[in-house]
Amino acid sequence: MHSFVYRLNGLLTFSVTILAIMCAITSLSDNLHTPSPSAEIQVMNINWFQKQPQGNDEVSLTMNISADLQTLFTWNTKQLFIFVAAEYETPKNSLNQVSLWDAIIPSKEHAKFWIHTSNKYRFVDQGNNLRGKEFNLTLHWHVMPKTGKMFADKIVLTGYSFPEEYR
């Protein structure tokens, strides 16, 4: 009962259990934290708005994105994955979410930022429903922890719309 192998086994089991408990408590500590982020997105310009050969609408736009997400960082945060998605409704689809731009924020210092960018990913509709349509721009963030539960939230900004005609 006291041989080397049994002692090693006991030690290993104990240390793995303690590590698991520590990871769980670390993850739980994230629940105590209440963040208060803020963000603003302006559509500076609709660069072009065309119907593709396959029949789907496509638009390219330039946005000004500014946000302060510093309060989302805790000691257990490894990075923040943020993205801006356009959300709109069409007769055929009750919901369309198209991601336009994303970024990884590795630390609290980088979490307060301002960026002027065109859409990183192509904004293509399923069909040609975009003329004159209103859409929301949502800034989503996904908190990726050093260990444990991941959580996500978003800010919805309304009031954007497409031009009435292709250009």
């Binding site: 490894k78 919901l95 979410q97 198209v98 991601s99 050093k146």
Partner: protein, 180 residues
């Protein structure tokens, strides 16, 4: 020649009852591990509640060797969620983020496009020939939590199966030769 005689003696001295007791305890350990696994499958609603990250396509968030906890609920799939999906014809599931969602008004069915955080392009190249979108039935679960580094054990045992055999052999030997 003396040690052969000793070995034969020790084999003869193994009592049947003791051997059976050991076999039953080993069986209990294996079946309780199986019960825990199946219970996890039921609770999380996903066929494989824990997966190991195999590639670097989600770095720096998930590195190779991390394990992800999955959960599948009836909630609709929304952009930004990290999902695990199987492409028809490929057996290894892929863990990437949803970047586009088109949900049908009438049927509630959904077209989903995914992309790895560390990849430049979306996953259309990974989908089956001619497939542009993923559907709900391709998706096995959403990643809800993760533990770093723990998955390396699985990766080592899969890529160098000899280590698996050595471990099982050593454990088996330990069980048989232990005196109690």
């Amino acid at each position: 020649m003396g040690w052969i005689g000793d070995a034969v003696d020790s084999i003869k001295s193994i009592q049947i009852r003791q051997l059976l007791t050991q076999a039953v305890s080993l069986g209990m350990i294996v079946t309780s591990a199986l019960i825990i696994w199946k219970a996890l499958v039921c609770i999380t609603g996903s066929e494989s509640p824990v997966v190991v990250v195999l590639s670097g396509s989600m770095e720096p968030g998930f590195k190779r060797g991390d394990i992800l906890f999955l959960h599948m609920s009836k909630d609709p799939i929304r952009s930004g969620e990290i999902v695990v999906f199987n492409v028809d014809g490929r057996e290894i599931p892929i863990v990437h983020r949803v970047i586009k969602v088109h949900e049908r008004e009438d049927s509630g069915e959904v077209d989903v496009l995914t992309k790895g955080d560390n990849n430049n392009g979306d996953d259309r190249l990974l989908y089956a020939q001619g497939q542009q979108w993923l559907h709900r039935h391709h998706i096995m679960g959403r990643a809800v939590g993760f533990l770093p580094y723990v998955g390396w054990v699985t990766i080592i045992m899969t890529e160098k199966p000899i280590i698996k055999y050595i471990l099982i052999g050593a454990l088996g030997l330990l069980v048989i030769t232990s005196k109690d």
